[in-house]
């Protein structure tokens, strides 16, 4: 079919909706509104219930981003599904061996083209504006950060706290204080992803990457390797814990002592 213009029977610009050619706006509106409504409700409700409970600002931003893009997607899906469904409703649909009579060719009116471009551009602008608004500047961490040196090994994470004797496989963090993870790897590329913090950085051999986060909820945080790193990639995880500042101070002192080591061995045995 030549790309431009109407078929041989029709002249450009004479496209009037033909009687019986379906495509009713009512069906499109109802169907589209239904899909958009269900999608919007799902987009607003589900992220808060499915995503891990946020333990930092970044993770809260992720939940909101899910909701914003979800609502936009629901509206887009509503428009597409509504128009698509309406195009199928009506007496003009035929399924046998003989095709229905040719539909009138429609030259694209300038207004329709403009509308399509504007609608898609609006979608782009909405996503971009939201994305820029939640983009955190890569500045220095405020306050007095806890520095943790994170090293990825196949297939375990180790954590060292400079200025202390703590260097092992357990990770505890104080509530409300900025943390600066200095992440690297000794073998292949890993991904350092404390899931409930809603952010991650690659652990690349020979490079130190920095991840800044301020934990704002007490409780467990699972650190998972997010970059395929070989045989036991799935098992490369740490169950970290956000604790109160005083507990954290106690823990730092207690780590490396015989009691802590004994506790760890007991834990492994279990």
């Amino acid at each position: 079919m030549p790309s431009e213009g109407p078929s041989s029977q029709e002249v450009a610009g004479q496209a009037a909706p033909v009687e019986g050619h379906g495509g009713s706006w009512a069906v499109a509106g109802l169907c589209g509104a239904g899909v958009a409504l269900i999608g919007t409700v799902a987009a607003l409700v589900l992220p808060g219930r499915i995503l891990p409970r946020p333990a930092s600002d970044a993770a809260t931003d992720v939940v909101h981003t899910f909701q914003v893009v979800g609502v936009l997607a629901a509206v887009a899906l509503g428009i597409v599904a509504g128009l698509a469904a309406a195009s199928l409703v009506g007496g003009h649909v035929r399924s046998g061996d003989t095709p229905p009579p040719d539909a009138p060719a429609r030259a694209a009116a300038r207004s329709v083209t403009t509308l399509a471009l504007v609608a898609c551009a609006a979608l782009v602008v909405a996503v971009v504006v939201w994305g820029l608004s939640v983009l955190t500047p890569a500045g220095a961490a405020g306050g007095d950060p806890v520095v943790v040196r994170v090293t990825g090994h196949q297939w375990v994470w180790t954590y060292a706290y400079p200025g202390t004797r703590v260097n092992g496989t357990s990770l505890e963090l104080p509530l409300g204080r900025p943390v600066e993870f200095e992440v690297t790897s000794v073998d292949v590329t890993h991904g350092f992803h404390p899931i409930a913090f809603g952010t991650q950085v690659e652990a690349s051999p020979g490079v130190v990457t920095v991840l800044r986060v301020t934990p704002d909820r007490l409780g467990p945080v699972r650190v998972q390797c997010s970059q395929l790193c070989g045989l036991l990639h799935a098992a490369m995880a740490t169950d970290a814990e956000v604790v109160s500042p005083s507990d954290f101070a106690h823990w730092l002192v207690g780590q490396g002592t015989p009691t802590a080591t004994a506790r760890r061995i007991a834990g492994l045995a279990r």
Binding site: H21, P52, A108, C120, G230
Partner: protein, 639 residues
């Protein structure tokens, strides 16, 4: 698949020339023998262990590649060119497959339609291997700590599944679409570079064997992106895999150049750029994009091979290398590649929408500009694969803007499909079903991509199942669905028989439901925090994974039913007329399947009437349809 063919013309007994003996059988024999000799010789030359094993693997695989293609006859054209000899008419006749019956599908054949079907066969094999991989992966993930595969086999299967699927889909587009249908759409009697085109498929066949052999020789637990330094560390199978990808690059570049050259030089008279069908534009733009970017894959695979066999340290950090180098170089190719895969199915969907809504594609010129925009943006958006690397955080904002910009051209294409079917005369045949499924999937797949394009979201979701769900919505729900619809649409042209739609519809609905269940459940698991490419997971993700696995079984069943319907129809379907869909483009002006040279003489498009703007189109060709039918030989005959 191959359609009914007349038996070969009986020939008087005479000894066969070397060239006549060339074919798949000879290729297998020569290839295996050469590989065995090379294997033995390299064992003497290199000490096995460390690099030695990789060198042995590399030498053996290269020998297989050279030997197999020598046996098939792939090297004949370049050798003749080097020796300065011109093939005589007997060679041309032999190579084009005259009188070879259906054996021409197993030979080096310059007929673009045969090459198209050879690619289709190869694609079906690879998609089949990838599909078995998918079923194995989903079965492993039925329970959190499954021992069904074990981590070693699981990792190998993940790699093979990803690569087989990506390459299989690529071959589906290169073969049936670019090699078979495109010249017919253009009104060409052959492709621009038929011998080069034929070389591509056999190079790919040997590379595919190399790829699948990795199951036997150890497997590579690296994922389809084969990130180094992990790839440096993997078993010697990685060497074979890297060589297979080098072969893939050769195949894609060869067929891409042929596609571009065919569109530029062999269009029917009167088919100006403005009157070129959307499908031809889509193939042209995708092929150009592929030729321009595949070098990135050649680069990283060469460096990986050097690291593995020569002791270089491009990706070994303690010796000055860098894994980030791999990531950047890989995605300069990987990101455009995804759009090489996306554009042709989009174009096929538009053609189908036009044919089954009984009107020309709505706003076709805008669609073409959208394809150009998509290709252009794809060259600038590798950044969103690198959000979590820690490289240049200052670029996050511009990467975000560029990535989201995709929504503009892709969205406009979607609206143009809708504009074509809206108030059209809907002819609800099987290919049209795929058009509507495409529309649904591309909204979900596309906007989940918009979510991942936001750095704040990607820094949480990178490496997780949300990425897997997004890319599968695009690859299966959009690309494969669009391509499958196109295959059903052009099926009568390929085989001369109609597709059996009742069984086909069963397959379609299984596929449509299977996609939603499988991949929506993966969004669910990913949102819960499940990483991708893991053999085990936390018990909290169990329900989502079980739903996804059930969906995957339904989806697989759907593809099997559709394939079965295709195979059955190719043998027993109703004979198809030249133009079963009453469509307007040129491929429907030749018999189904088309004779050797497609058109008795090159067709000429009727001019556009300057006063009324009526496009004479193909309904009034320079060659009357009856003449084309009259001069055509028996349906299915090779000449």
């Amino acid at each position: 698949m191959t359609g009914p063919t007349t038996s070969s013309v009986p020939r008087p007994f005479r000894s066969r020339t070397l060239r006549e003996r060339q074919g798949v059988a000879a290729g297998l024999v020569v290839g295996v023998l050469t590989a065995a000799v090379a294997w033995a010789a390299s064992h003497v030359l290199f000490e096995v262990g460390n690099w030695g094993t990789d060198r042995v693997t590399a030498v053996t695989m290269v020998a297989w590649f050279v030997g197999f293609n020598a046996g098939v006859g792939t090297w004949n054209p370049p050798l003749e060119w080097l020796l300065g000899s011109t093939p005589g008419p007997d060679v041309v006749t032999l190579e084009v497959g005259v009188g070879r019956g259906r054996y021409r599908y197993l030979r080096f054949c310059t007929d673009h339609k045969v090459v198209g079907m050879q690619y289709l066969g190869l694609a079906v094999v690879l998609l089949g291997v990838g599909g078995v991989g998918a079923v194995l992966i989903r079965t492993q993930l039925l329970s959190p700590h499954s021992t069904f595969l074990g981590p070693t086999a699981y990792g190998d299967v993940v790699t093979l599944h990803g690569l087989c699927m990506v390459i299989g889909v690529l071959l589906l587009l290169i073969g049936p679409f670019a090699s078979y249908v495109l010249p017919l759409i253009l009104g060409a009697r052959t492709v621009a570079l038929p011998r080069l085109n034929a070389m591509g498929v056999w190079i790919m066949a040997s590379a595919a064997a190399c790829l699948v052999s990795t199951v036997v020789i150890g497997g590579a637990d690296v994922g389809w992106t084969t990130y180094a330094p992990l790839a440096d560390q993997a078993s010697p199978a990685m060497t074979a895999l890297a060589l297979a990808l080098v072969g893939l690059v050769a195949c894609v570049v060869i067929s891409g150049i042929n596609t571009v050259a065919t569109v530029v030089t062999l269009r029917a008279r009167g088919m100006s750029a403005r009157r070129m069908p959307v499908m031809a534009w889509g193939a042209f733009i995708a092929a150009g994009l592929a030729v321009a970017t595949m070098a990135g894959l050649l680069l990283v695979m060469t460096l990986v091979l050097a690291d593995r066999t020569m002791g270089t340290t491009f990706f070994v950090a303690p010796q000055g290398g860098s894994g980030e180098l791999y990531e950047i170089a890989f995605w300069t190719m990987g990101q455009p590649l995804l759009y090489v895969l996306l554009i042709p199915p989009m174009a096929a969907v538009l053609e189908m929408a036009g044919s089954f809504a009984r009107r020309p594609v709505f706003n076709a010129r805008l669609v073409v500009w959208c394809f150009v925009a998509i290709a252009g943006i794809s060259l600038l958006t590798l950044g969103h694969h690198l959000y979590t690397t820690g490289l240049s955080p200052a670029l996050s904002g511009s990467s975000l803007v560029l990535t989201e910009l995709f929504a503009l051209p892709v969205g406009v294409v979607v609206l143009c499909v809708l504009g074509t079917v809206w108030r059209g005369s809907i002819w609800a045949r099987l290919p049209l079903y795929f058009v509507y499924l495409f529309l649904w999937d591309i909204v979900i797949g596309g906007l989940s991509g918009a979510l991942l394009g936001i750095p704040t979201a990607d820094r949480d979701l990178h490496g997780g199942m949300v990425v897997t769900a997004h890319l599968h919505y695009m690859m299966v729900g959009v690309v494969l669905v669009g391509a499958a619809g196109g295959l059903v649409y052009w099926f009568p042209k390929f085989t001369g028989r109609m597709f059996e739609e009742r069984t086909g519809r069963v397959g379609f609905w299984l596929i449509a439901v299977g996609i939603q269940v499988t991949f929506l459940a993966q969004f669910w698991a990913g949102a819960q925090g499940m990483p991708r490419r893991v053999a085990w997971y936390e018990p909290a993700f169990r329900t989502a994974n079980q739903v996804s696995t059930v969906g995957a079984y339904v989806l697989t069943l759907g593809w099997v039913v559709l394939l079965w319907a295709g195979v059955w129809s190719a043998r027993h379907g109703r004979p198809a007329p030249a133009d079963p869909w009453r469509a307007e483009s040129l491929e429907w002006r030749v018999p189904s399947p088309p004779p050797l040279r497609n058109f008795p003489v090159g067709p000429v498009l009727a001019p556009v009437d300057e006063d009324t703007g009526v496009d004479g189109g193909t309904s009034r060709l320079g060659v009357p349809e009856s003449a084309a039918a009259a001069t055509a030989p028996e349906r299915g005959g090779p000449v």
